[in-house]
C-alpha cells in the first residue's frame, strides 16, 4: 500500500516537478535594457581636494560587430559637454584637452572614455537541477538561447594629482561608470547616452568638491 501511494503521489507530482524545472530567463527589457553601473575605489579619495579636470577628446572604441575585434577612436564631442556640465556643477574646473597628438593639459582629474560594441551569443540548458550537478537532468527543450547586444560606454576617472613622479604613466582609477545597452547598433540614441551620463553622476553623490 505504501509503495502504491508513494508511486501515485510521484505521478501526481510530475506536473509540479515540470514547473520547477522550467527554464529561467530575464525578459528582453532587462537583457537589452540600459543599465548604469558606477563604482568607486575601495579606498575612496578626498574628492574635495581636487580642483581641475579634463576629458579625453576621443572615445577608444573596441568594436566586435564584424566578428573580430577592431580598435579605433571616435570623436567624443557629442558627449563631452554633458560630462563637463556634471563635473562643473559639482564644483570642479574644466580644462579642455586638445586633439591628439598634442599633449593633454595637467589637471588633478582626467576622465577617459571607452566604448565596447558588438554582441555575444549565449545559451544552454537553463534548469535548476543543474545546480545540483545534473546539467541534463531536465529535458533540453527548456534550454534558452539568445544574443546579447552590448553597446557599452565606459567613463573612467583617474587621479593625476596624487600620481607618483614623474606623473607620466598610468594613474590610479578612483571612479568608473559603465552604461550598458546605449551604443548598440540597434539601440543607439544620443539622448539615452546623455541621460545615462546624468544617471552615472546622480548615483555618485560623493563626487563633490
Amino acid at each position: 500500500m505504501i509503495y502504491r501511494s508513494a508511486a501515485f503521489l510521484l505521478l501526481l507530482s510530475l506536473p509540479a516537478f515540470n514547473l520547477a524545472c522550467t527554464g529561467y530567463g530575464a525578459p528582453s527589457e532587462v537583457v537589452n535594457g540600459t543599465a548604469t553601473i558606477t563604482v568607486e575605489s575601495g579606498t575612496p579619495p578626498s574628492w574635495a581636494s581636487y580642483t581641475t579636470f579634463t576629458i579625453t577628446p576621443t572615445i577608444q572604441v573596441y568594436d566586435n560587430t564584424g566578428g573580430q575585434q577592431d580598435a579605433y577612436r571616435r570623436d567624443a564631442e557629442s558627449i563631452i559637454p554633458k560630462i563637463a556640465e556634471n563635473m562643473t556643477r559639482r564644483g570642479y574646473q574644466y580644462i579642455q584637452s586638445p586633439q591628439p597628438p598634442a599633449d593633454p593639459p595637467v589637471t588633478h582629474l582626467v576622465i577617459t572614455l571607452y566604448a565596447y560594441l558588438g554582441s555575444q551569443a549565449y545559451g544552454g540548458v537553463y534548469c535548476n537541477w543543474y545546480y545540483w550537478g545534473y546539467p541534463y537532468g531536465c529535458y533540453p527543450t527548456w534550454g534558452y538561447y539568445g544574443t546579447y547586444n552590448f553597446g557599452t560606454l565606459i567613463m573612467q576617472m583617474g587621479d593625476r594629482k596624487n600620481a607618483p613622479p614623474p606623473n607620466t604613466g598610468p594613474v590610479a582609477l578612483i571612479w568608473g561608470s559603465a552604461t550598458y545597452g546605449v551604443l548598440g547598433t540597434q539601440q543607439y540614441n544620443l539622448q539615452r547616452v546623455l541621460t545615462s551620463i546624468d544617471q552615472a553622476f546622480a548615483q555618485s553623490p560623493f563626487i563633490q568638491r
Binding site: M1, I2, S5, A6, L9, L12, S13, A16, L19, A20, Y24, A26, P27, E29, V30, V31, G33, T34, A35, T36, I37, T38, V39, E40, S41, G42, T43, N128, Y131, Y148, F150, G176, Y180, G181, Q199, Q203, S204
Partner: protein, 218 residues
Amino acid sequence: MKTNLMRVVVAAVLLSGAAARAQWGLTGLRQGQTIWALNWEVAGPIGDFQNYIKNWSLVGFSLEARYLVKKNLSVGGSFSFNRWEETYSQISVPITLPGSGATGVATGPVYRYNDMFGLRAVVHYYLGEGDSKLQPYIGTGIGGVWSYAYQQIADLANTQDSFNFIVSPEVGVLYTLLQGTTSMALNLAFRYTFTTASPGRTSNAQTIGPIIGLAWYY
C-alpha cells in the same frame, strides 16, 4: 400504492447506503494510519523579503506524509518547492566588486527570482473527535531549506545559494471527500514560514500563504 412505492424507494436508498458503507466503510482518522498529501502552495513575501521580491509565488508545491502516532497526533516529513519571480523596470541596487573592495551602484531594469527547496519534519495535532467530514488541525514543520537567489541587470548576474533553517506553523482542515479503507480528503491550510535565507541584502525571508491539496489516508 403510493405508500408502498415510497417504502421501496426508502428501502432502496437505505440499502444502497448500507452497500456504500460496506464498500467504503466509515473509518475517520485513527492511530496507525498514514496521510499522504500533495499540495499547491501560494506564498507571499512579508517583512524584509519584500525588499527583494514583492510578487506572490503561484509556483509552489509540497509533498508530505504524516503518520498518526495517536488518533489526533501525526508526525512525518515534507518536501516543498517555491519560486518567487519579479522584474523591476528601474531600480538601483548596491554592488560590491569581489576582490577589489570597490563598491558601487547599478541602476536599470532588474530581473530577480528566488527558489526555495524545503525539507521539513512535520507534526500535526487534530482537533475534535475526527468523526465528522471536517477535520481541523494545527501543525508545524521544522527543517532545512536550500535557497537560490538570482538577479540580473543587463548581462550582469549575481547569484547566492545557501542552506538555511526553516520553521513553518500552519492551521488547516481536512475535508473528507471519500471515506473508506482508503479515504480521500481536500487539504486546506494557511501557513506562515520563517527561514534564515537572506536573498540580496535582506535577511530572514518570511512568507505567508494558503495551501490547497489532495490528501488520502489509510
